[in-house]
């Protein structure tokens, strides 16, 4: 029952929020996000004993059930969703926005969709939530986004919709292959998929993978991403980059690797190569960006590329690292976007060449920015170090010799990452203050939001055991 709360609270509060005129939606959204966060915290805490499940009949004649399961990976991502949305609400509580009722309503609806995606244990239910998470985000970007928002988000929507339809056809195909009556339950889908002959698995693989590849995004399906991140309002960018791209990776771990083992084995090298190309390519482009929002968007492609590559490398440590890193990346990038949005708010530009001297004008913010940026390049004692270390270890200890080469190439991503991130810090934080002569330092709510992020960054960097324990069982299960 507790699991359904994770979906119901944001869903109902979201619908309620549409009905509220004026500013009343803000406290409502904040309360809703704190409640959801508390529930997801409880779910993750309770998870050390046994996964929580909830099942109810939905459409029996289609063989689909309303089935939710929170195992380690799901509850970790729910917790991430809870934390990130809460931080977003805290930080944006005093930012002016047009039609706050609809804005917060859509934000909460997308949270409900995300929770559903992470919890669904039934393929059709998963598909429904997958779409449900997308539509509010589409409206958010299109109404509150930047100048070119309409064509950009339209492209984003069509891209992801094509992917999801392909996935749907794959899932329908798999469900018709289940024993006896058609069924969408995770176990049945896994049995049906893994018992398919390898050559069938090889093409069903692409039907399903393409949706996830677009979402993550893996090179060459990434072209929607930088534009969409740039045009979206910051709370939505955070939802997109910290949570929605994780949907793609999570889906690979849950609905692809165990379902089509032979297909994955056949195509894994291809995917790893694409992912590594993505890492190097995105890092190179990030270096020449002057717009910090675009820079972080490309850095996100690089980080996700590394996780995608390791997810297909098939080693236990690596898989464990992917899960841990999903959480860590979500936390870090949330902090990055918050600071970017504050910079844009205070000084009206995102162009690095016009910025500088934040350390003298707003020292607290500068410290936060430096810590989060260092976490982003995976300095030891920050959370990302643990994750990336495990990722590289996983890729290196993979079954095939070629993976070592791939690891070396992917390692370029770290070096290039340091180049563009440090360059960004240098240009915005230090040096002469050009545009940034004046401007307030962090306000109380921004301080609070960033404090949560930084505490998590440092805590998980020093003592990652809770996170590792939460996901350890799942990693070994998937790699088996």
């Amino acid at each position: 029952m507790i699991l359904i709360l994770l979906i119901l609270i944001p869903l109902l509060m979201g619908i309620l929020s549409f009905a509220i005129k004026g500013e009343g939606a803000r406290p409502l959204a904040l309360i809703s996000s704190i409640l959801t966060m508390a529930v997801s915290g409880y779910v993750s805490g309770a998870n050390y004993t046994a996964p929580i499940t909830y099942t109810h009949d939905w459409i029996p004649i289609l063989g689909t059930q309303f089935s939710l399961v929170a195992d380690g990976m799901s509850s970790m991502l729910c917790l991430l969703t809870g934390i990130v949305v809460m931080v977003v609400m805290i930080v944006s509580v005093n930012k002016p926005v047009e039609k706050p009722g609809s804005f917060y309503g859509f934000l909460l609806l997308s949270q409900a969709g995300l929770m559903g995606v992470f919890l669904a244990y039934d393929a059709l239910l998963f598909y429904v939530f997958w779409e449900l998470a997308l539509i509010p985000v589409y409206f958010l970007c299109s109404i509150w986004g930047g100048e070119k928002r309409i064509p950009v988000t339209f492209k984003f929507f069509i891209y992801t919709f094509v992917g999801s339809l392909m996935m749907l056809s794959g899932l329908i195909y798999l469900s018709t292959q289940t024993q006896g009556l058609s069924s969408y339950a995770w176990g049945d889908i896994v049995r049906a998929g893994s018992s398919l002959p390898p050559e069938k698995q090889q093409w069903v693989f692409w039907l399903i993978f393409i949706a996830f590849a677009i979402k993550m995004p893996v090179f060459p399906f990434h072209t929607w991403q930088p534009d969409t991140y740039e045009q979206s309002p910051t709370p939505v960018t955070i939802i997109l980059s910290a949570l929605m791209v994780k949907m793609g990776l999570y889906a690979v771990l849950r609905w692809l690797l165990p379902v089509l083992p032979a297909g994955v084995a056949y195509w894994s090298d291809t995917v790893i190569i694409l992912a590594v190309i993505g890492i190097v390519y995105a890092s190179c482009i990030a270096i020449v960006q002057t717009d910090i929002k675009r820079l972080i968007a490309y850095s996100s492609i690089a980080h996700m590329g590394l996780m995608a590559a390791v997810a297909f490398a098939g080693s236990g440590v690596g898989m464990h690292g992917v899960m841990v890193q999903m959480f860590n990346h979500g936390i870090t990038i949330t902090g990055m976007w918050i600071i970017v949005s504050i910079i844009e708010d205070r000084w009206g530009t995102r162009d690095m060449t016009k910025l500088g001297g934040m350390a003298t004008v707003a020292p607290k913010m500068a410290i936060a920015f430096v810590i989060i940026s260092l976490a982003s390049i995976a300095l030891p004692l920050t959370n990302n170090f643990i994750g990336e270390f495990m990722l590289f270890n996983g890729l290196f200890s993979g079954t095939e010799a070629s993976h070592t080469v791939m690891m070396v190439l992917a390692g370029l991503g770290i070096i290039l990452g340091a180049v563009y991130t440090l360059n960004m810090i240098q240009k915005t934080t230090y040096g002469e203050a050009v545009a940034m002569r004046t401007g307030k330092d962090l306000t109380v709510n921004e301080y609070l939001g960033l404090a949560i992020i930084i505490c998590l960054v440092l805590f998980l960097g020093v003592y990652p055991k809770p996170l590792l324990d939460l996901t350890s069982g799942i990693a070994s299960m998937i790699v088996k």
Binding site: E131, F154, I172
Partner: protein, 460 residues
């Protein structure tokens, strides 16, 4: 099948009402009452007919089955919904309001015949009963040249396709020596196939493709749908089309099932062409009404899936598709008729001016695009499932889903106009509380079909 008799009587009552009742709104109210009564008669038929025992009526001319009764009932329900949503708009088309309603009753008579026919002659008669009132309705806006053009075009093309249908029936009779679609099953089988039968099947397939506006026999559709008065376009594009599909499915599922290897590939090509032409052409339209005409061709492509999949799910598939598509299309048309300007720009800023209208229109468009939790998703799901279960033609499924992605493009252009652009759309008439209520009900129906379809599917 009391409904056939009832609808005929109601049609005649409406004709008499035209000179007995003066006020247009009284006529409209009477029509609503009669449609409700007709729905009652249908439900009565449904309840009183045992589920597993088909009845033969009128010397084996009609065969009453569970599916056909459900189809008739649901289409009558959609017609009631249509009259409730569009009643006031129908009054505005011209002076002969009662006749319009009478003609709709006659169309429904044709729908009932098509859902129960057991004889090729009844197929022909049913199609004629259904089509002739439409020719009149298409031209009912007499002062409008486009409306007259639509009527003439529709008549000529309709007559042409009926001719082909008759030719097909004749050839088939030559091979099978019977008009009875059940008896035909034992005569038509693959090992001793008469070429006449094959030719007959092809002719019938082409004629019925005309009626359901499948490419390349779709040329008349955009002009007719665009030219006809909008309320009647809504009816033609939904209930009439669904009934033609049901007839199509009935014949090919019952009689030609064993010959499917001979016609599947041709029908598959027709389906692919329909999807391609409908979706790609819809993208380039500037008028929403014309876009909806092309989208109805595109949706027909999906409905053809049910005919391609010669299995039991296809029946449920066509019924749920017919209902989901009809409800959503009637809904979107009922929003469209409220607007003066039918172009995309005419929708600019609707969300600000009429939030409820825009919201319900968005839900209807979601449904047409097949977004989950709407009826349209379940409908597409069902027909796709039917074909996937059949096993072959997976290429067509993937192609169709790519085309569905294209459809998002033109459906969402309306949403973009309504929500993300600014403007002040001009309305033809103020939106009344009754309109709002009906739109909300329609919207709830669409969502219920998507969220709890088993309430409905368990019975079919």
């Amino acid at each position: 099948m009391n409904a056939i008799i009832a609808t005929t009587i109601f049609g005649i009552i409406m004709m008499f009402a035209s000179f007995m009742v003066n006020s247009k709104s009284a006529i409209s109210t009477l029509a609503v009452v009669l449609f409700a009564a007709l729905l009652g008669v249908n439900i009565w038929d449904l309840v009183n007919t045992p589920a597993n025992a088909p009845q033969l009526l009128f010397s084996n001319m009609l065969r009453i089955e569970h599916y056909s009764l459900w189809f008739s009932t649901l289409m009558t329900g959609c017609s009631l919904l249509y009259v409730l949503l569009m009643g006031r708009e129908i009054q505005k088309v011209g002076t002969h309001v009662a006749e319009y309603f009478a003609l709709i009753f006659f169309i429904l008579c044709g729908v009932y015949v098509l859902s129960t026919y057991n004889n090729l002659l009844m197929l022909f008669i049913g199609i004629e009963i259904m089509s002739i009132p439409q020719y009149i309705l298409a031209g009912s806006d007499k002062k409008n040249l486009k409306s007259s053009e639509a009527s003439l075009k529709y008549l000529l093309m309709g007559a042409f396709s009926t001719g082909i249908l008759l030719m097909g029936i004749t050839l088939l009779y030559g091979a099978a020596r019977t008009f009875d679609i059940m008896e035909m099953v034992s005569v038509l089988h693959s090992d001793a196939l008469n070429p006449l039968a094959l030719a007959g099947i092809m002719f019938i397939m082409i004629a019925l493709s005309f009626k359901v506006s499948a490419a390349p026999m779709h040329m008349w559709t955009p002009d007719v749908y665009d030219g006809a008065p909008t309320p009647f376009t809504a009816y033609m594009a939904t209930i009439v089309k669904a009934a033609a599909f049901f007839a199509f499915l009935r014949l090919f599922q019952v009689s030609f099932n064993s010959l499917s290897e001979h016609w599947t590939i041709i029908l598959a090509i027709i389906t692919a062409a329909t999807l391609l032409v409908g979706n790609v052409t819809a993208v380039f339209q500037q008028s929403v009404k014309r876009m909806l005409a092309y989208s109805s061709i595109a949706q027909a492509g999906f409905m053809l899936f049910a005919i391609l999949a010669v299995n039991a799910i296809a029946w449920q598939g066509i019924i749920i598709y017919a209902v989901a598509y009809s409800v959503a299309t009637i809904g979107i048309f009922s929003v469209l008729v409220k607007l003066k300007d039918y172009t995309y720009d005419g929708f600019n800023g609707l969300a600000k001016k009429e939030p409820l209208l825009a919201f319900t229109a968005a839900i209807f468009l979601f449904s047409l695009a097949g977004i989950p939790l709407t009826g349209g998703f379940m409908a597409k799901y069902y027909v796709v499932l039917a074909v996937v279960q059949q096993g072959h033609l997976l290429w067509l499924v993937i192609f169709a889903l790519l085309m569905a992605a294209i459809s998002v493009y033109y459906y969402f252009r309306v949403i973009i106009a309504m929500y993300f652009k600014t403007g002040n759309p001009e309305m033809t008439s103020p939106v009344t509380a009754g309109d709002r209520l009906m739109l909300i009900i329609t919207c709830l129906l669409v969502l219920m079909l998507g969220i709890v379809p088993q309430l409905f599917l368990n019975h079919i």
